[in-house]
Amino acid sequence: MINQVVILSLRFILLVLLQVLILNNIELSGYINPYLYILFILLLPVQMSGLMVLSLAFVLGLVIDVFSNTPGMHAAASVITAFVRPTWLKMIAPRDGYESDAVPGIQNFTLTWFLLYASILILVHHLALFYIEVFRFSNFFQTLFRVFSSSIATLLLVILSLLFLNKAKEKR
C-alpha cells in the first residue's frame, strides 16, 4: 500500500516535470501539442474509487495549470477524463471482468485493448482541453484538427513511455 503511494507520487512528479519543462516547449507546426501527463490518470488501478480518481485528476490538472498560466483549464479537462474513465472501463471490460488488483497497461492486457482504452480517454481529454482553450466554436474544424493531431502525438508518447517502463522493469 505504502509502496503504491510512493510509486504514484514519483510518477506524478516525473510526469508533471516532463510536461511543463519539455513537452510544453515543443511546437510542431503549431498544431501538435502532446499532453503526456494524462498517462498518470490512465495508469491508475482499475478498482480505485471514483472519488479518489477525480480528486487526483483535479490536483494533477491544477499543478499543470500553475506552470502554464491557465488556471482551471487543464484541471477541467483532467476531471472530465477521470469522470469518463469508469464508464469506459466497464464498456470495454474483458469477458470475465477485471482482477481485483488490475492496473491498465500492456503487460496484463493486450495491446489492442490498451490502445482502445487509451485512445478514447486521450481524445476526450484533448477535446475538452482544446475547446475550453479557444472557448468558442468559430474555428471549429481548425480546433478539431489540432485535437486529433495532438491526440495521436500523445498516444504515441504514451505507448513509447510504457515500452520504456516495461524495459526498465525487465532489467531489474
Binding site: 519543462l21 503549431g30 498560466n69 482551471g72 476531471v79 479557444v134 481548425q142
Partner: protein, 276 residues
Amino acid sequence: MRNIFIFLWRHNFVLYFLVLEVVCFIFLINHNQYQKASVISSSNKVSGRIYESVNYVKDYISLKQSNEQLVKENVALMNLLRKRELVLLDQDSLIKDTLHKQQYSFIYAKVINNSITKQNNFLTLNKGSLHGVKPEMGVVSSNGVVGIVKDVSQNYSTVISLLNEKSKVSVKIKSSNHFGTMAWPGSDSRIGLVTLIPKHVKIKEGDTLTTTSYSTIFPEGILAGTVVSYDVKPGDNFYSISIRYSTSFSNLDFVYLVKDLKKEERIELENNLIQQ
C-alpha cells in the same frame, strides 16, 4: 430530508464531478479578468523558482546567440549616441541639462518562461515588485514590442505576450502616421493582424508599423512589425492587414520593461476629461 441524503449519497460520483468542474470554471473565469492578481500563475514562488533553475542551464546553450544580439544592440546604440553628439555639436546655442525631461526609464529582465503554441500565451520574467516592476508596464525587446505586464510577485512577473487574444496594441504606419489596432488572430506566432486603418490610406507590402504615443504603456516609435499582405473585406471601411512581428517570440531572451515616469500625471489629466 433523509431522502435527500440518500439521493446525494447514491450520486456522489456525479455530484463530486460537477463540484470540481464548477471550481475549475470559477478559476478560468476569474483568471480572465484583466490585471487580476492570481495565485495560480507562473509568477508564484514555487513554479517561478523551478523555471528559473531550468533556465540557468538553458542559458549556456543560447549564450552565443544572445551575445551576438547584445553586440548588435550595442552597435545600434553607439551609432545613435554618435549621431546625437553631432547634433549637439552643431548647435551654437546653450545646452541646458535635459535630464528633467526624461520620460522613460528601462528595467532589463530575463525571460524565464515563454509559450507560443497556445491561444493565450504568457511570458514569465525574473524581475518583480522588488525591482520596481508594476502591472501594466510595457515590455519590449531589442527588436520590438513584446507585451504588457499582468501579474507581479516579489521576484517575478508574468507578461501577456502579443500572442494573446487579450493583447491589443495601438500601432501606426511609420511613413504616414495613420493609426490602427494590432491583435493576434491566433494561429501563427509570427503573424499579427492590424485593423481600423481606413481604406483610403495608401499602404504597400513591407511598410513598417511602430507604436503610437496614444497609450501610456509603450513609448512612441517602438518597432511592431512589417506589412505582409492587406485587403478590405466587402462592405468594410477599414483594411485588415497581416503583419510580420519584428520580435521573434520563439527565441526571446532578454527584454526591457518600460517605465513611464510621467504616466500618473497624464492619466490624471485625461481622467479629468472623462469625469466632466
